[in-house]
């Protein structure tokens, strides 16, 4: 048990570093499939975090939530994305308004900003500063991905990253929401994703591409 305890403690103290790394890598990624894999990795880190908190606080519900995350975000959604890529057959590159280096610098700025934003707040709610900063950074980076990327598919990833951030914020401040709400949120995300998937198909069928910046002309 001693080893488990120490490992759990180490995971709690080190996981935000790995979340920052996935955020930076997502900003740098040039291919859509890399972005999806990074999202899957990010969700896996969060699932481990949920399980560790469940072990720490002796919450059985947390294990259910962790299992749901693994099922949905680590396996399900990425698989759906890969199916989508196959069906859409659009070019694999991520078209971005900023270059890879600029995006990473923006992500660096976002991480510093989230530390600055969280600093005064973290001591008030007795939450670890690192994980609060990580959640704010996830939210902001998700928004940044949605703003800067030109293709509809990557913007979906941005939304999912943003949702990951909100989930993490809830987790670090209140040790997670009640199970029933958690399940409701998962279904929300799933339905939203389904709708966006349909929407992407419609965009492709009407405009023959997925570049959002070119959706200016009306077509019948």
């Amino acid at each position: 048990m001693g080893i488990l305890e120490t490992t759990a403690g180490k995971v709690l103290s080190a996981y935000s570093v790995f979340l920052f790394l996935t955020v930076l890598a997502q900003a740098a990624a040039r291919r859509f499939s890399t972005n999806v894999l990074l999202f899957s990795l990010q969700s896996a880190i969060i699932a481990i975090q949920v399980a560790v908190i469940g072990y720490h606080e002796k919450l059985v519900e947390a294990y259910v939530v962790a299992a749901l995350i693994v099922l949905l975000k680590v396996v399900g959604i990425p698989y759906a994305f890969f199916r989508l890529i196959e069906k859409l057959q659009s070019p694999r590159e991520v078209i971005s308004a900023t270059s890879a280096a600029e995006s990473v610098f923006v992500a660096v700025g976002i991480i510093c900003l989230s530390y600055a934003a969280v600093r005064s707040y973290a001591s008030g709610v007795h939450a670890p500063e690192d994980s609060l900063a990580a959640s704010v950074a996830l939210i902001l980076t998700g928004a940044f991905l949605m703003v800067s990327r030109r293709k509809a598919l990557v913007q979906m990833i941005g939304l999912l990253v943003l949702e990951n951030g909100i989930f993490l914020a809830a987790l670090t401040t209140t040790f997670g929401m009640p199970l029933i709400i958690e399940i409701g949120i998962f279904f929300d995300v799933l339905i939203g994703l389904l709708l966006m998937g349909l929407f992407v198909f419609r965009i492709r069928d009407t405009f023959d591409h997925l570049d959002v910046s070119k959706l200016r002309k009306l077509r019948g």
Partner: protein
């Protein structure tokens, strides 16, 4: 004893360097399902080149012959700063990481001059590209080293290694990870490896290092090849010393040194495997995408330095 060990480490890094190159080449061949050359091939290459005639272009000046020698000397000097088996190095206490960075830059500067001195169009092109890549790689290299130095409150490589030795694997901080990423990318660029330069081909329009040394032949080329191999083993040694020094000998007993040697070989081999996987899995970047790639490294380095202030651990 310390001096003997320091000399032994330098000799290991310098003499073993072509072997590391051969192993990486062999691993790449295995990954690509080719048979590949034997791992001793780089030694045979150097031996062969040393016995060939040295052809100097008629337009070349004295710098042309001087450049390979200076490159080799600076590379060997740089290896004298890297702890390998135990946490001491021959020149460990005499210089900090800034000296190290500019020793490398010195060698590259003269090689670029030599490339231009050869008088061919390819030499000039390769030299100007090398100048671009090295000036871009210098930023993340210095930033990554600065971040680690701030953490260790010590500017020498030996001091930084000592700081890392006191911590265990689980106590890695964000600074260490980010600095490792920055320095890893720089190591790929500095040694002319795959996403930046292709070490396997000799004649293509996008070559950087090979273009620069196109006019060299015979013993001079042998020196350049050897210096390139030393640079690779130096980078591997530096990464291991700064980020995973665990297993180094703390006493000078034969058992501890033997264990340290085994650990060092295992870590170097792991790095060689990683390098082979990266080189087989990634296509070479376009020349104009290289600044972007190194910019990512610079961002990692910047964040590492900022994190030293944020985390205070």
């Amino acid at each position: 004893m310390t001096i003997a060990l320091g000399v032994l480490q330098v000799v290991l890094l310098v003499i073993g360097a072509p072997l590391l190159r051969g192993i990486v080449g062999r691993l790449k061949a295995v990954l690509q399902r080719r048979r590949g050359a034997p791992i001793w091939r780089p030694y045979a290459d150097i031996w062969k080149l040393l016995h060939k005639e040295d052809l100097v272009p008629p337009s070349a000046s004295g710098i042309f012959g001087l450049a390979p020698l200076l490159l080799l000397v600076t590379s060997i000097l740089a290896t004298a700063f890297v702890p390998l088996l135990a946490n001491s190095a021959l020149l460990g206490s005499t210089g900090d990481f800034i000296l190290l960075v500019y020793l490398l830059a010195f060698g590259r500067f003269f090689l670029a001059l030599g490339g231009m001195d050869g008088g061919s169009a390819f030499g000039g092109m390769g030299a100007s590209r090398e100048a671009l890549v090295s000036s871009l790689a210098e930023v993340p290299l210095v930033l990554g080293l600065v971040a680690v130095a701030i953490q260790a409150s010590n500017a020498s490589v030996v001091g930084m290694t000592e700081w890392a030795l006191e911590r265990n694997f689980f106590n890695i901080s964000a600074v260490h990870l980010l600095a490792f990423l920055a320095l890893g990318i720089v190591a790929l660029a500095e040694t002319g490896r795959m996403p930046v330069d292709n070490p396997a081909t000799h004649l293509e329009l996008t070559m950087i290092h090979e273009g620069m040394v196109l006019e060299y032949s015979g013993p001079n080329l042998a020196l350049i090849e050897w210096a390139g191999a030393i640079k690779l083993s130096f980078m591997a040694g530096l990464l291991i010393a700064l980020f995973a020094p665990w297993g180094m000998a703390t006493t000078f007993s034969p058992a501890a040194l033997g264990l340290a040697a085994v650990a060092m070989l295992a870590k170097t081999f792991a790095l060689a495997v990683a390098l082979a996987v990266i080189e087989s899995g990634i296509a070479k970047l376009r020349m104009y995408a290289v600044p972007d790639f190194l910019g990512v490294a610079a961002a990692f380095g910047t964040l590492a330095v900022i994190f030293t202030a944020l985390m205070k651990r």
